[in-house]
Symmetry: C2
Subunit: 328 residues, 2 copies
């Protein structure tokens, strides 16, 4: 069937050990090396990675499990992780859970069966609790989503600070009835919700919020109802760009103008947030840094499994645009 190292060895008139050494860049006489390289070319030999990984007992694969590949934040994160992993000579294998804890459990098992060298994971809140099921020596790094005081390395945004910034900004602009739309599945959304609640309380304002599946449709439905009802807020803070989009669509379909009838602020500086009129005020996350940092933490952990658990907290940057600008 497929050409194996034995075929190359035969063609070159050497042992397969020697072929293996040539491929691995071990010490081989230049004359033999040339012969083997010619044989490789001639036979069209491609090493079988399954065999190599089995024998060498490490795969050089980093598993990445994200919650929603259609969320541009995760796409950007994946891109950054991929690049950093590639530089470190690691391959990436990607899984998408669609925020489903069952699929998370499945993929977590699969990653172990793949014997990945490391794992980068953005879990749902449900799964964060049962991460202790992972073997001790499994180099896993949480990214974007982590509990406080977990057993694993993590890279997260300073969500409390970010929401405080957003709420303060809205209050400064004169808004009082500030509502929130938060994802219901992630710890990150909960942290943003708690930050919102704390900030509202600090300003002596009454809080009101909705928790929905972190997708545009869910936000559009929930916010649409809300905006049509008697408790409609005059400003909304949304916890990710999909929810921001859904909120915007809801406002449009109800016929509210932004920012005059409804102010809007959210997370993630997606290009479209700048293109709509008015632009949307957002917290920009250092997503490239987050991806790179996750890989760096993972590499450290692979080298030194006994390192103390590290938690990297990065700051967002507030970009003010017209969507929160009615009162100036």
């Amino acid at each position: 069937m497929s050409i194996s190292i034995n075929d190359v060895a035969d063609a070159a008139g050497v042992s397969k050990s020697t072929v293996s050494r040539v491929i691995a860049g071990g010490s081989v006489s230049s004359e033999v090396r040339a012969r083997v390289e010619a044989a490789i070319r001639q036979t069209g030999y491609r090493p079988n990675l399954q065999a190599r990984r089995l024998r060498s007992r490490h795969t050089g694969i980093v598993g990445v499990i994200v919650a929603d590949i259609r969320n541009p934040f995760f796409t950007a994160l994946i891109g950054a992780v991929e690049e950093a992993a590639y530089r470190a000579g690691l391959r990436v294998t990607l899984c998408n859970t669609d925020e489903d804890p069952e699929r998370e459990a499945l993929y977590l098992q699969l990653m172990q069966e793949e014997r990945v060298s490391g794992l980068i994971f953005a879990p749902t809140r449900t799964t964060i609790g049962c991460l202790d099921g992972l073997p001790q020596d499994f180099p896993a790094v949480l990214v974007d989503r982590a509990g406080a005081g977990g057993r694993h390395d993590a890279v997260v945004l300073d969500n409390a600070a970010a929401t405080t910034t957003l709420v303060s900004h809205l209050v400064e602009r004169g808004y009082r009835r500030i509502g929130g739309v938060f994802g219901s599945t992630s710890n990150t959304a909960s942290e943003r919700r708690d930050g919102y609640l704390a900030a509202m309380q600090a300003h002596g304002l009454a809080a009101d919020y909705r928790e929905v599946a972190p997708q545009a449709e869910a936000a559009e439905d929930a916010v649409g109802q809300w905006l049509r009802g008697p408790t409609a807020p005059e400003a909304i803070l949304a916890s990710n760009s999909l929810l921001t989009m859904g909120t915007l669509r809801a406002a449009r379909s109800v016929g509210l103008r932004i920012p005059d009838d409804l102010a809007l602020a959210g997370f993630d500086n997606e290009r479209w947030t700048e293109l709509v009129a008015p632009g949307i005020t957002v917290i920009e996350q250092p997503v490239e840094d987050m991806g790179r940092a996750a890989v760096a933490l993972m590499l450290d952990r692979m080298r030194a499994p006994d390192l103390a658990v590290r938690r990297l907290v990065l700051s967002g940057r507030c970009i003010v645009r017209g969507s929160t600008d009615a009162r100036t």
Copy 2:
């Protein structure tokens, strides 16, 4: 180190053949099956997929190579492929080439070394030519991008029809100086360019276009210059959503209003194209169907390698919005 099938066999007091049978769902007495299952649970055993794949000589992995994971078209495609593959009991491994032929060559090799069961690939134009380097028995399906009369199965859009529709629509709306912005790396972009040229000629109009790297920044720069110059068009047709976005940004920065100063039409019905004011006229691609169809073609090819080459051409749907509406 890691727990192997032998440990389970020892714990259950059976041979590893029997353990293997239990896992594979072979015929085993219920008493023995129960003992083995208990041993699996007790030891925390996870089968080593590298070993399984090596021995069974097929991986059950479908490789997916796309040009740009940040292009929402590809993200949606990946999602659809993943789902269809998952249903067929296949795993997906994903590679992102960033439109770089060198990385394409690298990943193509890697896919062979991984011994993937099948490949779904959106190649650059450069690479389409040297796809014959793939082994005959390699079940590869091209998606979104394919040459005419290639050796591989393919799923593509009817690009000629789509651009003809767009040009006719613009002409109908009274536009005459219709320019184009096309990606420079893909065959699909070339087909759209050729469709544009043919349609313009059929209408007796002079064509003018730019070819750029298929990213927003490149389009923004090129179109910005163009719009400031003496040959500025009154309408622009862009060959993907990133280019549409760049064109829109360029128009904004030059201070042109859409559609009064510049009409705009593009590809891919991304959510933001509906959210900006005015909305953007686009060709919507049946991207989910494309992903599913690619997997279906691949499965057929895996089962029957000698099947005649098939090329599936799907139609886009034109969604007219305000961006092409100045004259009505």
